[in-house]
């Protein structure tokens, strides 16, 4: 008999990044018994790493800005695949969510007239990112953390959820997990659950993501029967560090380009001018003089091509390096040193300055940085009802990077942090309303709990099996090489069979040492989710026989309007296998369609 502790609540939020904290705050403010569960310590979730800022059309720097322009930028940046209602709510509510952070103690950088300053970022028509230097994520998570503490929300730190449980009538009612410091098992029962588990980037070799981003929430939802959409849409950030090897993949914020940085190849050419796509031609400068004037005057000049949406820039860098015009470590040059004063750079980009100086021995106020694409963000995720953040199964809600829909095929920089706030709050509301009106019990099946616990513990008992780190490394190789930034049908099919072969190695994993704070064992319990998620990414990528946003197919290099009208939805079939089906995008109302057509202003 497996032993476990049982804790009963109204709302359990899984994840303590921006989305999870905001959801929990909402539920708690509405008087529900609320707890947060997270894999790391409080305040260490991925959100803490966000640099550039949070996008909100407050119009503090450019009074021309408003939610309609933000909506248009988000949908167009997402290559028309985004969910219109989510994009609308996001654009409309972001300013309030940012202001609310100030009322909870956040200190954003200011404009001269004392309002929140906003910086330029790729794909945003106006300077729109509220920020604190380049450590905005820290400000956001700390503010929410302090608010959560002030509200006295229970936080179960360093606790990993393994599976969700349903009651006999099919409502999500429980979650099984373990406390990492002790290895002790725990079962949470509650009337509503919110998944806010973040991203999946850990399964790629070169990635900006931490060990936590193993896609647990995507897998938990899939296994519980929820719909998952757009998993082929993975964002490769154009500028990751490439050297030294030990930091390869680490993020270089888009703020560098937003604040004036430009890209050059090994021949010194500002190559982005050669890669301006038709759809953005009308709003992108085609010569250096105009591009440089834009920083001072957004109205009479078009934006520099370095600030095209991320998918465009990442592909262009990739093409330059492939054509033999890359630097010594396989990247291109990102230069702000020759364009802005040392003072300016150190003030606007302090953590980038620090990061390059300490880790690469490069002074970014004097030299260019060598950069290349790195795996960064999953646009796809749990299918949610926009207004309530409800998943397709009762009792389960989702917000933040784990939810799909808002960003379509490509996310604009800064839209994630505001996404966390807007939909974190909505998930908290949705879950609270659901919990309040729920009448059914939260009885969960103890045999199932025991089965989950036994399965999780199995690698500790097994001797002479495989080291989980080896399996993880092989998975990262497969995903990096075969499901990377540029994809082809044959490689994707090969990836799928490699992932299947990797899955067969899971029952043979073994770890030595005890159950208390054992990272090898923790990884063994992460791998099933990683493998399921990688399968979804690959299956989606096989089906989407076109190129769109973060998904680029070498064998189908063009966008196909027919594919632009469908989401690929993945779910388990009757026999527990994941299947993909194309389903039409929700139809955008005409008045919103009209906004897309409107010109640059």
């Amino acid at each position: 008999m497996a032993e476990y502790e049982q804790i009963d609540l109204d709302v359990v939020v899984i994840g303590a990044g921006g989305a999870g904290l905001r959801a929990a705050i909402e539920a708690k403010q509405r008087g529900l018994r609320t707890a947060i569960v997270c894999k790391s310590l409080l305040g260490k979730a991925h959100t803490v790493m966000a640099e550039g800022g949070a996008a909100a059309a407050m119009g503090n720097v450019w009074s021309e800005d408003n939610w309609k322009v933000h909506f248009r930028d988000t949908i167009r940046g997402g290559k028309m695949l985004g969910n219109w209602r989510m994009a609308q709510l996001h654009a409309q509510e972001s300013p309030d969510r940012i202001h609310e952070l100030e009322a909870w103690g956040a200190l954003f950088d200011r404009t001269k007239d004392g309002r929140i300053h906003q910086r330029d970022f790729g794909g945003h028509r106006y300077a729109r990112l509220a920020h604190v230097g380049d450590r905005t994520g820290l400000e956001l998570i700390r503010t929410l953390q302090q608010r959560a503490v002030a509200l006295d929300i229970d936080v179960f730190m360093e606790t990993k959820i393994l599976r969700l449980l349903k009651n006999p009538s099919g409502e999500v009612s429980g979650a099984v997990g373990y406390h990492r410091p002790t290895g002790k098992m725990v079962v949470f029962t509650a009337k509503a659950f919110v998944l806010a588990t973040g991203g999946i980037g850990r399964s790629w070799k070169y990635s900006t993501n931490s060990w936590e981003s193993t896609g647990d929430g995507h897998a938990l939802a899939l296994w519980a029967g929820a719909d998952i959409i757009d998993m082929e849409c993975m964002q490769f950030h154009p500028t990751g560090m490439v050297w030294p090897l030990s930091v390869r993949g680490l993020l270089v914020t888009e703020g560098v380009r937003g604040d004036g940085g430009i890209l050059r190849n090994s021949e010194g050419q500002r190559f982005m001018f050669n890669y301006i796509p038709e759809v953005f031609a009308a709003e992108t400068a085609d010569n250096e003089a105009e591009a440089d004037r834009w920083y001072e005057d957004h109205i009479n000049n078009r934006r520099p091509p370095e600030l095209l949406p991320r998918d465009e820039v990442a592909r262009s860098i990739n093409a330059e390096v492939k054509a033999g015009r890359g630097g010594p470590h396989g990247g291109v040059y990102l230069d702000i040193a020759s364009r802005r004063s040392s003072e300016f750079i150190q003030r606007q980009l302090p953590s980038m300055y620090h990061q390059f100086k300490e880790l690469a021995g490069v002074d970014i106020t004097k030299e260019a940085m060598e950069v290349g694409p790195t795996c960064h963000y999953i646009m796809g995720g749990i299918r949610v009802e926009p207004d309530t953040a409800a998943s397709t199964i009762p009792g389960l809600f989702a917000a933040g990077e784990v939810a799909g829909g808002l960003h379509g095929a490509n996310r604009l920089g800064g839209n994630s942090l505001s996404d966390l706030l807007v939909f974190g709050r909505r998930a908290g509301m949705g879950a609270s309303d659901y919990a309040d009106s729920r009448t059914s019990g939260t009885t969960v099946d103890s045999t199932e709990i025991e089965r989950i616990i036994d399965e999780a513990r199995a690698p500790l008992a097994r001797e002479g099996g495989e080291n989980p780190y080896d399996l993880q490394r092989d998975l990262q190789e497969t995903m990096q090489n075969l499901v990377g930034i540029i994809r082809t049908g044959t490689e994707l099919t090969q990836a799928l069979s490699e992932i299947d072969a990797l899955k067969e190695r899971v029952p043979n994993l073994s770890v030595n040492g005890g159950i208390a704070y054992n990272p090898g064992w923790n990884l063994a319990t992460d791998l099933p989710a990683m493998l399921s998620v990688c399968t979804m990414v690959t299956m989606g990528a096989i089906e989407r026989k076109e190129s769109r946003g973060g998904h680029t197919r070498d064998d189908y290099p063009k966008s196909d309007p027919a594919f632009g009208k469908i989401n690929f939805v993945q779910r388990l079939n009757g026999s527990g296998e994941c299947v993909v089906s194309p389903e039409p995008l929700p139809e955008m109302p005409d008045e919103l369609k009209a906004l897309l057509e409107e010109g640059a202003h």
């Binding site: 450019w62 300053h117 820290l138 302090q146 030990s246 953590s351 208390a516």
Partner: protein, 269 residues
């Protein structure tokens, strides 16, 4: 590739010992890279914390050759390799396993802090604050909660019994952040003196020296706090008056040597 011996503490609350791992180091590697390689190849159960690998999350604090450092920001080529590189968990906190300690003391102290209580917003529902007035607070908000200042502070490093009534440098900067927050209205000075042990600090500045964010913990937080706390007058009106006056003064001096705003001039300004 250079050869090096990593001498890592292994054990739990019951006890433990250092274990040697001979390994190779390649160009640009940091201590955390080497620890990860040992984990992946030799000791998958070697416990350590990390998240960002870029000095942003404050998870990977440990004592390297006797002093607290972030493992992810300590380059191997800055350490002497003739001798073993000694890596131990932070001493001030109870051990969980290997390099992982129980830092809940810090979270407990954060819970005991009376929360931020803002004044009312302006007529449009938002706040106006000048850059110069938020900068002091911003310095403290750079804190990544690595807890290395708490680790090095002798008041609790050598005296477990002090923890009950000592907030420590991490929290002192939080108190000072709120003290200097343009919107906050809570007065926490009495609490600081009575229950948070501000008086125990004898300004050795060890905390400032280890702070990876280069926050001037002693000069900019602890010393000014001490001044305010010893201030005999607890008259809230006078306190508020001084709070405002002080800021005006600071603004004037800081404004004198403040650089010109490098941001391009924007249409709406």
């Amino acid at each position: 590739m250079a050869d090096v011996v990593m001498r890592i503490w292994r054990g739990d609350s019951e006890g433990g010992e250092f274990q040697d791992f001979p390994t190779q180091v390649s160009e640009g590697e940091v201590v955390l890279d080497v620890v990860h390689r040992i984990q992946a190849e030799d000791a998958p159960d070697l416990a350590c914390r990390w998240n960002c690998k870029a000095g942003k999350c404050g998870s990977c604090s440990a004592e390297i050759n006797g002093l607290p450092h972030l493992m992810c920001m300590t380059r191997m080529d800055t350490l002497p390799t003739e001798e073993p590189v000694v890596i131990a968990p932070m001493k001030t906190f109870p051990i969980i396993r290997d390099l992982v300690t129980d830092v809940s003391f810090n979270y407990e102290m954060a819970r005991r802090l009376p929360p931020f209580a803002p004044k009312d917003p302006g007529p449009d529902g938002t706040y106006r604050m000048q850059q110069i007035d938020v900068e002091r607070g911003q310095e403290f908000r750079k804190c990544i909660e690595c807890f290395m200042c708490q680790d090095i502070c002798h008041v609790i490093r050598d005296h477990e019994e002090n923890k009950e009534h000592y907030a420590g440098p991490r929290l002192f900067i939080r108190y000072m952040e709120l003290e200097s927050h343009p919107l906050d209205t809570n007065d926490r000075r009495e609490l600081l003196r009575e229950e948070m042990g501000l008086g125990y600090c004898n300004i050795t500045k060890c905390c400032t020296e280890v702070c990876p964010e280069h926050i001037k913990i002693t000069d900019n937080a602890i010393i000014p706090l001490k001044e305010r706390v010893v201030d005999a007058s607890y008259d809230p009106v006078a306190w508020l008056g001084r709070k405002i006056l002080r800021r005006t003064k600071k603004t004037a001096t800081e404004a004198a040597n403040h650089r010109t705003d490098p941001k391009p001039v924007k249409a709406s300004q």
